[in-house]
Symmetry: C2
Subunit: 317 residues, 2 copies
């Protein structure tokens, strides 16, 4: 495992939850597969041409953001007010540089806004309309609300908008019985041996009061450190924040000597289950080992690496 | 150290940085001392009467927020736009429940808003005007901009407002040569053996683009867990986020077996110094041991506990 640079690769997720095979048409499943493959390919092509893991995770997440069936970017769910409030973050394991944004309504690719925050703002975390203004000054592509309008998402809002309790929206539960934690993310190791992670989300359907989940929280939803691992999470954000999930895995590796696989399985399938936190994550270490872990019934996920592995899965097996 | 309930106590800070004795008048120093003593007393009285550590840290931070010389609540610094954007968070070590808010302009005590978010919202983190709306629905006291106007703070803004680079505002550096990371915070252990932590800030003078620091980030600026410790940080927030400072100390205790003192000294005086992150923190463990650590020239700080210790300090010694 010395020559990490020969084991470059990328792992992605498109959210975890109760993904019911009974409700999935062949056409829809094929569309998901294709979207995940496109994202893997976009990131992997950059790794193969010698670009950084940072470029790869940004490209993969942009691809996922542009696909309307994932809850991020174009497919972001609606808030209670019928608007969109998107969150994203990115981190580079070589120097622990990081960028994060929340409450974004008009930037086409929030992950790219997180990246310019990291590289150009002198800060780590910008929020709301003012963060968008920063993105506009940096030349990012903006979109009107019409771009983010998806009829199926709007129906999801109407299904639960009049519920008294905004806590119901936790579950993003539709009449169909599906329960999904819509978030997309990627982790990558590049040929230089550097790790990176990125995550992006539209949050919860019907969310109110400026709710922010774990996606823009460095250490919770996203973390990358060449000494240990890169992690991107998806799940019930409140639990992921309180459990500091992404950094916990890094600490278990650094301070307890666990492998990535051991640490991720322990956190996702033991600690989070006992804590009540449903969801999952993708992770990669500096040797190119990867993990796709979740404690929900399914997770949209994929892995592609220099050893020739190219896998996409949705359900448990 | 079995009967933790006999070692209850509270530790507080009012920010770290270059606090120059030459610029401090006797009257100002006495005012700082009194404000820190008032905050310690407010929290300690609750602990002594059997109330929870959560009540104690909230009361202490409210007291610090109400004192105009600290950068939080009434004394919050001005943003580039001449407004106030305050952040706060709170966490309870017994069940890892947590609340956080950012971008708050009109709530008198942001730490109390963080607490109602924790207890009443079903969420962990709410932001901006909508978070304030939630606070208003919960009956929190609101204030007009006039309440938060402090002439000295406004002069600090005017000193640097026209600087081209908003990065300058990182340092909150005034013409006087002072450089302060204005944040207030408290950690406490109660007679039931439960830990809690809370932090509140006005952020950086002249901040732009909705910048958020480490204060509302669970795991970075604030963390509490009965298994390990309660931590409240103050410092250059971007570094504290990237280093996940508060949870790092917890992990070094849990996974490496370090004491609170060892872990805090290692993170603040070794890791953060090498990383370039200036600041400090207060911490307490479940046995009532406490630490007041900083790598800057000074930190407003105090400790009061059931063993009769009652100390307030500003400078290094």
């Amino acid at each position: 495992m010395n020559s990490t640079n020969k084991r470059f690769g990328i792992a992605i997720h498109g959210g975890a939850g109760t993904i019911l095979k009974a409700l999935m048409t062949k056409e829809k499943e094929a569309a998901y597969h294709q979207a995940l493959q496109n994202a893997l390919d976009a990131g992997y092509a950059l790794l193969q041409s010698g670009k950084s893991s940072l470029d790869a995770v940004e490209a993969a997440v942009r691809s996922l953001e542009d696909f309307p069936l994932f809850n991020a970017g174009k497919g972001a769910v609606f808030t209670h007010n019928g608007t969109h409030e998107m969150d994203a973050s990115i981190m580079f394991g070589a120097d622990l540089s990081a960028g994060a944004v929340s409450g974004i309504s008009s930037i086409r690719n929030p992950v790219s806004l997180a990246r310019v925050v990291m590289e150009k703002s002198g800060h780590v975390y910008l929020s709301g309309v003012e963060a968008e203004n920063f993105g506009k000054l940096q030349g990012l592509v903006c979109e009107s609300p019409a771009y983010f309008y998806e009829e199926s998402r709007y129906k999801q809002l109407l299904d639960i908008r009049d519920s008294d309790s905004y806590q119901l929206d936790h579950t993003d539960k539709t009449e169909s019985g599906e329960k999904k934690f819509g978030t997309v993310g990627a982790v990558a190791l590049d040929a230089m041996g550097n790790l990176a992670a990125a995550t992006s989300t539209g949050g919860m359907t019907n969310k109110r009061f400026g709710r922010v989940g774990d996606t823009p929280i460095i250490g919770a939803g996203t973390y990358a450190n060449n000494k240990t691992c890169a992690i991107s999470c998806t799940g019930h954000g409140e639990y992921f924040i309180r459990a500091v999930v992404a950094y916990d895995i890094s600490c278990l590796m650094e301070y307890r000597g666990m492998s990535l696989e051991e640490a991720a399985r322990f956190v996702v399938n033991d600690k989070l289950v006992k804590f009540g936190g449903e969801g999952g994550l993708v992770g990669m270490d500096a040797d190119g080992n990867y993990v796709l872990a979740f404690n929900s019934e399914g997770m949209y996920r994929g892995i592609k690496n220099a050893e020739g592995i190219n896998e996409i899965k949705i359900y448990e097996s």
